[in-house]
């Protein structure tokens, strides 16, 4: 029997920060009991339960999960199958908990309007209720598809904010930022008069693609919608003051090479954002604090991993706590442990608002890993309501072994010699360690203008999703972090 099935008896119901941490993988008849899916996004509700969604589709359908704060599975009606109409296919890529506790999902999906086109499928779900409140597909009215990527959606109040990319029909993909109503999913004017703002590289054949939708408030009380985007050789931040035509954009480049990878962006304080990205050529994680108004760098740091052979390719957006500290999460491949097995790992570290890496329970880097010599893909990190736990989702084993982890933010729970105990599936045991050798140093990225803005229109199409049905025979594998 999976440990999670009786864990509620051992530890009681969800009770917040006094629980131990855990690493879990839910499964059902939808996924099979030996699941190989990829957990792509999570959000944490006010009771510290976790909503999660998979990139992997199951017979063309998406799936969402609700996991209690103690690692047990949530209400049966919250473990859903997302089934597009007319036998369409969906890959769900984003999930967000709105201020009122309802849950919004977003992913690729069909537009059944008489043409075979790919749009963005959104839906709203009330916790504990099986059938969705509404669903709506968004589409940029051209002949080309419209796609979402990593961490594409966030909410504030009664609005949702998302980012996507589409092919311009000529030479490249462009980035779009859009706003929807959470009342019915309809598109709304983001800048006061246009549905969406788009970013393009003015060079022929050079694409941009976005991640990390983020809403942050400036020192004057104005809400801004920011995203991170990647283009050839660099990454950048673009923001729009919501409801206005005031925009900002700034690009950042590694010190050499052109292999940059998405990280993300989050609010730091009234005047600044945190911004991360990966440099897979030089194998660095970059953390920058940049001005909300114009993206100017305020300070920057970098982390390198000793004996690294790869990684720095999957970096969830940073998360800041209420004191302005920031948590960064990234992947690596290296040969420094497990008999030089070139294993893949997920690392996390905490910096204070001035850019000082923090020593937690004696060390500055924590590592969730297996001895397997394959890539690991961390996709999203979140903080619990009392900021005592860091949640991370993603997939081990080259995307074939999904996970959601809940790790104490005080850095406790590591064990450098003994694997975690429980029944998390896979051929190798999970370890949570604190002895990965690494270097924190001054960052060396540079900054420039990058990209241009314009506006677009999008259309929406209701009722593109069948009424949700429940996954059956749901269970959860669990290893404890104590």
């Amino acid at each position: 029997m999976p440990l999670g099935a009786f864990k509620a008896t051992l530890f009681g119901a969800a009770s917040g920060g006094s629980d131990p941490g855990w690493v879990v993988q839910p499964y059902s008849d939808t996924t099979g009991s030996s699941p190989t899916y990829w957990m792509y996004d999570i959000d944490v509700a006010s009771d510290d339960s976790v909503w999660a969604t998979t990139l992997t589709n199951f017979s063309n359908n998406g799936a969402i999960w609700h996991i209690n704060a103690d690692g047990t599975i949530g209400h049966a009606n919250d473990q859903k199958v997302l089934d597009p109409t007319q036998s369409g296919s969906t890959n769900t890529r984003g999930i967000a908990v709105a201020d009122d506790g309802d849950v919004i999902t977003i992913g690729g999906g069909p537009i059944n309007d008489g043409f075979a086109r790919t749009g963005i499928l959104t839906a709203r779900h009330t916790p504990g209720t099986l059938v969705q409140d509404w669903d709506n597909s968004l589409f940029f009215p051209s002949v080309t598809g419209m796609h979402v990527y990593q961490t594409p959606f966030t909410t504030k109040g009664t609005k949702g904010y998302g980012c996507n990319y589409y092919y311009d029909g000529v030479s490249k993909y462009n980035t779009q930022m859009f706003q929807i109503s959470l009342t019915d999913g309809a598109e709304e004017a983001l800048n006061g008069s246009n549905d969406c703002l788009y970013l393009y590289n003015s060079s022929y054949g050079v694409s941009t693609d976005p991640t990390s939708a983020c809403v942050a408030t400036d020192g004057s009380g104005n809400d801004w919608f920011y995203i991170q985007y990647r283009t050839s050789g660099g990454v950048g931040v673009q923001g729009v003051q919501i409801g206005t035509t005031t925009y900002m954009s700034k690009g950042y480049f590694p010190s050499s090479g052109t292999s940059v990878n998405h990280g993300g962006v989050c609010g730091a304080d009234a005047d600044n954002l945190y911004f991360t990205f990966g440099d897979s050529s030089n194998r660095k994680l970059h953390l920058l604090k940049v001005a909300k108004s114009n993206g100017a760098i305020q300070w920057q740091r970098k982390i390198t991993i000793d004996s690294s052979t790869g990684g720095f390719t999957y970096i969830p957006p940073p998360v800041a706590d209420s004191s302005g500290n920031v948590y960064v999460v990234f992947n690596s491949r290296d040969t420094q442990q497990f008999s030089s097995a070139n294993n893949g790992s997920v690392h996390w570290a905490k910096y204070d608002s001035s850019g000082n890496i923090q020593t937690l329970d004696g060390t500055t880097l924590k590592t969730l890993t297996t001895p397997q010599a394959v890539d690991v893909y961390p996709m999203r990190s979140r903080l619990s309501s009392d900021e005592s736990f860091l949640y991370i989702c993603g997939a081990f084993n080259g995307g074939q072994r999904s996970f959601v982890a809940k790790l104490p933010t005080d850095g406790t729970g590591t064990d450098n010699s003994t694997a975690l105990s429980g029944n998390f599936p896979g051929s190798d045991a999970l370890y949570y360690k604190n002895n990965w050798t690494h270097t924190d140093a001054a960052g060396d990225a540079s900054q420039s203008s990058l990209g241009s803005q314009s506006t677009n229109s999008i259309s929406s199409y209701a009722n593109q999703l069948e009424d949700c049905v429940a996954q059956t025979n749901v269970g959860i594998y669990l290893d404890e972090v104590v």
């Binding site: 899916y37 990829w38 792509y40 998979t54 990139l55 992997t56 589709n57 890959n91 796609h147 990527y149 990593q150 990319y165 030479s171 993909y173 060079s203 022929y204 054949g205 050079v206 694409s207 693609d209 050839s232 050789g233 660099g234 480049f253 010190s255 050499s256 090479g257 052109t258 005047d271 604090k289 001005a291 108004s293 114009n294 100017a296 760098i297 305020q298 300070w299 920057q300 001035s354 850019g355 000082n356 893909y377 997939a395 995307g399 001054a442 960052g443 060396d444 540079s446 900054q447 420039s448 203008s449 990058l450």
Partner: protein, 111 residues
């Protein structure tokens, strides 16, 4: 926009590129216009030139289907220290480096 949010870049005694927040890590109430810490210098020309893309050239009768850029010139910074009229000046020199562009697929992982 406040002056503190303008783009200012510095070099520290360890020859590392630094920013306002790095100085404020040492002197929390430091602001633009205040005396720099000993051994620190502001660097001129801090903003990086935009990348330059290089496109294929086609001869007569050649297939012109693929017109995406094939190379990309990036600019990487180097510190230049000169003495002008007896005053040490710290300047950023942006050195062009051209890379081949390896075609990347659009970002659709298959889960």
């Amino acid at each position: 926009m406040s002056e503190e949010l303008d783009e200012h870049v510095y070099i520290n005694p360890d020859a590392e590129w630094q920013y306002i927040g790095d100085i404020q890590r040492i002197i929390p109430d430091w602001g633009i216009g205040d005396e720099l810490p000993a051994g620190w210098h502001e660097v001129t020309n801090p903003s990086q030139p935009d990348p330059i893309f290089i496109y294929p050239e086609f001869g007569e009768g050649e297939d012109e289907t693929n017109t995406a850029p094939i190379k990309q010139t990036m600019f990487h910074r180097e510190l230049s220290i000169e003495v002008i009229d007896g005053v040490m000046t710290y300047n950023t020199v942006w050195n062009p480096v051209t890379y081949d562009i390896v075609e990347e697929l659009s970002p659709h992982e298959i889960g």
